[in-house]
């Protein structure tokens, strides 16, 4: 008898309970190293948002606002950035935050073996401590996007004491100055943070414990949200949005993202440099653009949730060129452009990743392009293989994504700038490259806007890539949670969340 009732009682006693004082967030994958200088994943940044303070923060409108730096100004013709620092801030291990700590951090990001921050700080020559709470970054060349860099992982401050003491093992026990401190981590299972009592804005943070659960499958993530195991689930897929909205215990919060997805054409790069490919002809690429309808893609693949567009910044950015129109689908025009290029029909191989979403996207594009005589062969491969093919230039066309940054420079310079590490389709236009260099050294926002708009028009004429849409960040949130605000960078900020 006892044997029979025990499991039943156990099950009843163990029915899920909710603790208003704790919060659990479902992430879409397991973060990598918990060290801002070694990290490369977005989910890692999401955890860092609670663990590390940054020098500069962004608000919901993407303006730069103070965090550990209370104010900043450009000097020396934009080759120097002076930052005034907040006083009275301590790291989780008690080490004080001051100008020395900033110098240590920036130098660590620039020099640490394997640091992923080297490229974005390449313009920094040295860091000068002016007084205990003032620091100056001296640059090799004027580089305005540095502010955005300091509002991301390069601007996250780790405890110098802990970093020196722990060396390579820092990521096993990361110490920052954020509102929550590291408690424990089980790889691929959970990351647990505790409230940091000594935080300078402690009264705005209301949870005792923050748990991050990596739940890679979107259906499982949603199931966990619905059953109450997680309070917030990130990256709800567009097809699940309806199910979140219709659930009376949940609500959906969204923000347009900074990223974009494209069709990238190989114009003569890497292994296919000298290969005879139709995508090398501008007329064929133009025909391709007229053959597809971005709205249909959005309807069919993303349940109308994303933002169909043809620019590399989202419509909400101040750098968005409002006078540029998204071309509408025109099969006749596409056919006549093909004719002009000397073809009745063309064959193009499109390399895509084997995820459900990418496959659907490929199929929709294939169907639309086919009507104009552009016959696409979909070459489906796993993600690592697509990436490999892209870097080697062993592709004709592929679907690519960029998660997006606050400053437009980081959305574009690596792709079209001279020697950019992501220029993997061989598009080298000296005029555009000149504009991009000018724009990154120009501190006047209006002038920058003009430069980017002109560069954008030039790119859209030549079509090295076809920009398709901007994804959105969509969060499923339990009704027990109040005050959660979605940000365009997709980071879960827990300030004033209850």
């Amino acid at each position: 008898m006892k044997l029979k009732t025990t499991p039943l009682l156990l099950m009843l006693a163990m029915a899920p309970m909710s603790y208003a004082k704790d919060i659990t967030i479902g992430l879409n994958s397991d973060p990598d190293a918990l060290d801002p200088d070694l990290s490369r994943t977005m989910v890692g940044r999401e955890v860092f948002t609670s663990l590390f303070d940054k020098l500069i923060e962004i608000d919901q409108q993407l303006n730069f606002v103070p965090m550990l730096a209370t104010s900043w100004e450009w000097t020396d013709e934009n080759k120097g950035l002076i930052l005034k620092l907040k006083q009275g801030v301590v790291f989780h291990d008690g080490a004080p935050f001051n100008a020395q700590a900033v110098k240590f951090n920036i130098e660590r990001s620039m020099n640490l073996d394997g640091s992923r921050r080297k490229t974005e700080l390449a313009m920094v020559n040295n860091v000068e401590v002016l007084d205990e709470y003032t620091v100056k970054l001296n640059l090799i060349q004027p580089f305005i996007p540095l502010l955005a860099t300091l509002a991301d992982r390069s601007g996250m401050m780790v405890s110098p004491l802990a970093a020196e003491k722990q060396g390579k093992n820092f990521s096993q026990n990361p110490i920052g100055s954020g509102p929550y401190q590291f408690d424990s981590r089980v790889p691929q299972d959970r990351i647990v943070l505790d409230k940091f009592k000594g935080y300078w804005e402690s009264e705005h943070y209301h949870f005792n414990k923050v748990t991050f659960l990596p739940l890679p499958d979107s259906t499982i993530r949603l199931a966990n949200l619905k059953s109450g195991q997680v309070d917030i689930a990130e990256r709800i897929t567009p097809t699940d949005v309806e199910s979140v909205i219709s659930d009376s215990n949940l609500h959906l919060l969204e923000s347009s993202g900074l990223g974009y997805n494209t069709i990238t054409f190989n114009l003569g790069y890497g292994e296919n440099k000298d290969k005879d490919m139709v995508v090398k002809k501008p007329l064929v690429r133009e025909a391709f653009e007229y053959a597809i309808d971005r709205n249909i893609i959005n309807q069919v693949v993303f349940s109308n949730q994303y933002v169909p567009d043809n620019q590399w910044v989202s419509p909400e950015s101040i750098f968005y060129a409002k006078d540029i129109k998204v071309p509408t689908r025109n099969i006749e025009k596409a056919k006549s452009l093909l004719k002009e290029a000397g073809y009745d029909s063309v064959n193009i191989e499109l390399a895509i990743a084997n995820t459900t979403e990418a496959t659907q996207l490929g199929q929709v594009i294939q169907a639309m392009a086919g009507e104009a005589g552009i016959n696409l062969t979909l070459k489906t491969m796993d993600n690592a293989t697509v990436l490999d093919a892209k870097t080697r230039g062993a592709y004709e066309a592929t679907i690519a994504a960029w998660s997006g940054r606050v400053d437009p420079d980081s959305n574009i310079y690596s792709f079209y700038g001279e020697g950019g590490p992501l220029n993997e389709n061989g598009f080298n236009d000296k005029e555009i490259q000149g504009m991009l260099v000018e724009a990154r050294s120009e501190s006047d926002v209006e002038k920058r806007k003009k430069l980017y708009a002109t560069a954008m028009k030039k790119v859209l004429e030549q079509r090295p890539q076809l920009y398709l849409y901007h994804p959105k960040w969509q969060w499923g949130v339990s009704n027990k949670i109040e005050g959660f605000k979605p940000y365009a960078d997709g980071m879960p900020r827990l300030r004033d969340v209850k």
Binding site: R116, E120, D189, L213, D217, A384, T385, P421
Partner: protein, 317 residues
């Protein structure tokens, strides 16, 4: 007996060598460069070069293999390219989870299938026999991941009585541990139960038709004794072999079930590692799984010895 086991271990050593070489080679044949996967979205050339040098990715295949082998012979299975943790630590961290899941699901499977098969065999062609055969058919044909999804939707989302996924160590909280393990063990167990049921029912039927059972019956031995002592014991020989081998397979990680229930065991680790081209981890887990498989084979063979007097006598003579 001892000689027999030692003999098997001797054979296992070159097998392991061959496996390690093949896995290493196959992984290198896979397209995709771990350095690219790990350099981050902006793939800075410095980061890529650093990773390639650190893990000898620029060296020829055979040199990489020798590096790996040299380290393994000193007891070092390398470090994960992705998380920078030692492969051995990762294995030791994930192993208890997989072992627990394996034991629970096997226990569940045996508890259901063995009694069911005895009754089914004894009451051949009865309603019970028929319905348990249908159960076995269903159990074998439903894919684990589908059953897992359905269980989550019903038990966690709809009823809300068990957590949908995750894992809590029994040392942290036994009750939460059991909660998280019930569904995965059930899902994994039903498939296993079906397989075991089919084997043991067949074996039972065969034994029940044997001469010595008829003799026992003629001598008036009690039915219970005939079924449980004479028939079952003999019928179990092939079943035990199968169970041990299945268990060895389970220890290699239940890939789909662990994925669905987000259980941080070996199965989930190996899938994630393959996607990230985390070669040292894949190599480590495959070697470990191979070892477990060989080991469970040896155990199965030894169990044969213990259960089957004929084999023991053959050795003596």
């Amino acid at each position: 007996m001892l000689k027999f086991i030692i003999n098997r271990i001797y054979i296992a050593i070159p097998t392991l060598f061959l496996i390690s070489f093949f896995i290493f080679g196959l992984q290198k044949l896979m397209p995709g460069d771990p350095a690219l996967m790990l350099a981050g979205e902006d793939r800075s050339p410095e980061a890529i070069n650093y990773i390639r040098e650190l893990y000898h990715l620029n060296e020829p295949f055979i040199v990489q293999y020798l590096y790996w082998l040299g380290d393994v012979l000193q007891g070092d299975f390398g470090t994960s390219i992705r998380s920078d943790e030692s492969v051995m630590d990762l294995l030791l961290l994930k192993l208890p989870v997989t072992i627990e899941l394996s034991i629970l699901s096997m226990l569940f499977a045996i508890l259901i299938s063995i009694p069911m098969s005895i009754i089914a065999a004894v009451k051949k062609n009865s309603g019970w026999d028929f319905s348990s055969s249908i159960f076995a058919l269903i159990g074998q044909s439903i894919p684990n991941f589908w059953l897992g999804f359905m269980m989550i939707l019903l038990v966690s989302v709809h009823w809300g009585i068990l957590p949908a996924s995750g894992y809590v160590s029994p040392f942290e909280s036994l009750s939460q541990n059991i909660q998280t393990m019930i569904m995965p063990a059930f899902v994994l167990g039903t498939g296993l139960a079906a397989t075991i049921f089919r084997h043991s029912r067949g074996a039972m039927l065969e034994v029940l038709a044997a001469d010595f059972i008829r003799t026992a019956r003629a001598k008036g031995v009690k039915r219970k004794t005939i079924y449980l002592k004479h028939a079952l014991r003999n019928a179990l020989i092939p079943v035990v072999t199968m169970i041990t081998i299945q268990f060895g397979e389970l220890l290699g990680g239940a890939v789909l079930t662990e994925q669905v229930f987000t259980i941080p065991g070996l199965g989930k680790l190996i899938v994630d590692s393959v996607y990230n081209r985390d070669f040292p981890v894949v190599q480590g887990i495959v070697m470990f799984s191979a070892l477990m498989f060989i080991f469970s084979n040896i155990i199965a063979d030894s169990a044969y010895y213990l259960l089957d007097p004929k084999l023991r006598h053959r050795e003596v003579s």
